[in-house]
């Protein structure tokens, strides 16, 4: 188990008409790793997430998760296999309460069917109560239980991000994909987020892949970093290696012009 990677992305790519948004993507994530995915705007980071979660079907290559091929599966099945995600633009169920947001994630773990709900059979009450109890337990872990009856849209921004992560984790994933979790956060909120990421990783025995522009956060928490540019993998390595990688510097800051001072 130790040597078998949790996620293996093999030569994966997607083409929209003539545009190759992502090509020849190769990634390996081992159990328990915290890996960053960075790159300039439009490099294909979110597209890669969409490939991993089934939103897009790759036009080439394979995605192997936990020994199973998951490319081509619809998103809800990918989630049930154990890949969960958050979104770059928060996508909470705004008009539902905080508790209900988490309950939705427990949906596929409950078993009672529509008929037993309509007829209010014992299995309905048992299933619903279980969902409710688990959701409240879960909110406590994230200290969101005090907001449980609040509508999601009324939460402060930082708490909304927190709730989105909590909701993604409630589906019981092995791999969590975080799409710019620190976007729009102030330094204090970013610091809290870093603590939260470290905490959930230990608590839920997770593997995490995160997209982020905040270099403090990326360099601070990630063990390994992949750099994407123009839909292609540019570099891979430890934060230290990435920081000094000439191609990465070039992609972010532009090419060095040698003959200016010459």
């Amino acid at each position: 188990m130790e040597n078998k990677p949790l996620l293996e992305v093999k030569n994966t790519g997607i083409q929209f008409g003539g545009l190759k948004a992502v090509q020849n993507l190769n990634m390996v994530l081992n159990q328990g790793e915290l890996v960053g995915l960075i790159g300039p705007n439009g490099a294909g980071k979110t597209t890669s997430f969409n490939l991993l979660t089934g939103v897009y079907v790759p036009t080439e290559g394979d995605i192997i998760f936990n020994g199973e091929r998951v490319n081509g599966l619809p998103p809800f099945k990918v989630t049930r296999k154990g890949i969960s995600r958050t979104f770059q633009n928060i996508r909470l169920f705004n008009d539902l309460s905080v508790l209900e947001n988490v309950k939705v994630a427990y949906h596929s773990l409950a078993k009672h069917n529509i008929l037993s709900s309509v007829l209010r059979l014992p299995s309905h009450f048992k299933g619903e109560q279980e969902m409710e109890e688990k959701s409240i337990e879960f909110l406590k872990i994230f200290s969101l239980d005090k907001y449980k009856d609040e509508l999601a849209k009324n939460l402060p921004y930082g708490q909304q991000r927190r709730l989105e992560i909590a909701r993604a984790l409630a589906t019981g994933p092995k791999l969590l994909l975080l799409d710019e979790p620190a976007a729009g956060m102030n330094p204090q909120e970013t610091k809290d987020l870093m603590d939260l990421i470290a905490f959930i990783r230990n608590k839920f025995d997770l593997t995490i892949l995160l997209i982020e522009h905040d270099m403090n956060l990326v360099m601070g928490v990630c063990e390994r970093i992949y750099v994407l540019d123009h839909g292609q993998l540019l570099a891979e390595g430890s934060p230290e290696e990435i920081r000094n990688h000439p191609k990465v510097i070039e992609a972010y800051l532009g090419e060095e012009v040698h003959d200016v001072n010459a």
């Binding site: 996508r91 596929s108 619903e128």
Partner: protein, 316 residues
């Protein structure tokens, strides 16, 4: 459990309403006109609530509900008039066939979103109407004679069953899944919810009850004609749901009652009827843009009175 706290009072109120009205009818205190209006209200509530499940809960903007009403009306009429089976059987078969029609329409068209889905459902409803228009066995444009079988008892029992099924569906993990599709389909998908399944199921349940309403409707007027099920009928049902407040079941019920009463009383003034009816709609939408009830349910108000702090919604 929480649910039964509301369930038994509801049943008690339902039995009381039924008993009082039935007494008034059998003692001939209220005449045929009023009892007919009451039956019409029951039918319209069933229609409004069944469309509420599709639009208000699942967020799928379908405006072809009259098509399923037509399927229920014609199929049940065939069952009683041609096959000579009991009315109860006709109601059930009418509902089932309408649900099947809902599945056939829903599976391809629920891939569409928003305006596109609206146009597709409108088109399907017209197809259904034109099919009946061209089948001579059901009378074509001249219509089909149907015996008057709908009574207050049938209408009310169907209404109660509709309300119980839709409320119970809504207040369960399945209803929550449907609501999450309305709130954010992409996130719902990412939470492991089979969004297509819930859209189709909600559509089929909605169509089933539209079919039941159709059975009651066709056996209430002695004759049914395809022209009764045109897109104006679909819009009438849509107006119940929108006027009541999208997402509010009690709103749909209230506006179905209100508008049925208004339009029945306006029948005495045929020249100004549609003007006044439209004015009512405009005024309500101007002063209550979120509909009569917004997204609240009647039971939420009771809760607000009991606990001033407020609390959960969805009336559990």
């Amino acid at each position: 459990m929480k649910k039964s706290k509301q369930f038994w009072p509801f049943i008690v109120v339902a039995v009381l309403v039924y008993a009082v009205v039935q007494f008034l009818i059998s003692a001939e205190i209220i005449n045929q006109f009023y009892s007919n209006t009451l039956i019409l209200i029951a039918i319209n509530i069933i229609l409004a609530v069944s469309l509420h499940l599709v639009i208000g809960i699942t967020g799928q903007f379908s405006i072809g509900h009259a098509g399923f009403l037509a399927v229920g009306a014609y199929i049940s009429a065939i069952v009683t008039m041609k096959l000579h089976l009991p009315f109860v059987v006709a109601i059930i078969i009418g509902g089932i066939v309408a649900a099947l029609a809902g599945l056939i329409v829903g599976i391809p068209s629920l891939r569409l979103k928003g305006d596109y889905l609206a146009i597709a459902t409108l088109g399907f409803a017209e197809i259904i109407r034109i099919v009946f228009l061209n089948i001579d066995a059901v009378g074509g444009a001249a219509g089909m004679q149907v015996s008057h079988l709908t009574t207050w008892t049938y209408a009310f029992v169907c209404l109660v069953i509709t309300l119980v099924v839709i409320v119970n569906f809504t207040n369960s993990r399945h209803g929550l899944a449907a609501i999450s599709v309305r709130e954010n389909e992409i996130a719902s998908d990412a939470m492991g919810i089979n969004t297509t399944y819930y859209k189709v199921i909600a559509f089929a349940i909605g169509s089933f009850f539209a079919g039941v309403a159709g059975a009651l409707f066709s056996h209430n007027f002695y004759i049914i004609q395809p022209s009764q099920f045109g897109f104006l009928k679909s819009f009438d049902i849509l107006i119940f749901v929108v006027l009541g407040g999208l997402g509010s079941l009690s709103g749909a019920v209230l506006s179905a009652i209100l508008l049925t009463v208004v339009s029945t009383y306006l029948q005495g003034y045929p020249e100004t009827r549609m003007i006044i009816y439209s004015l009512v709609l405009i005024l309500v939408m101007l002063y209550r843009p979120k509909g009569l009830m917004g997204t609240m349910e009647i039971t939420d108000y009771f809760k607000l009175w009991r606990t001033p702090k407020g609390g959960g919604q969805h009336g559990k």
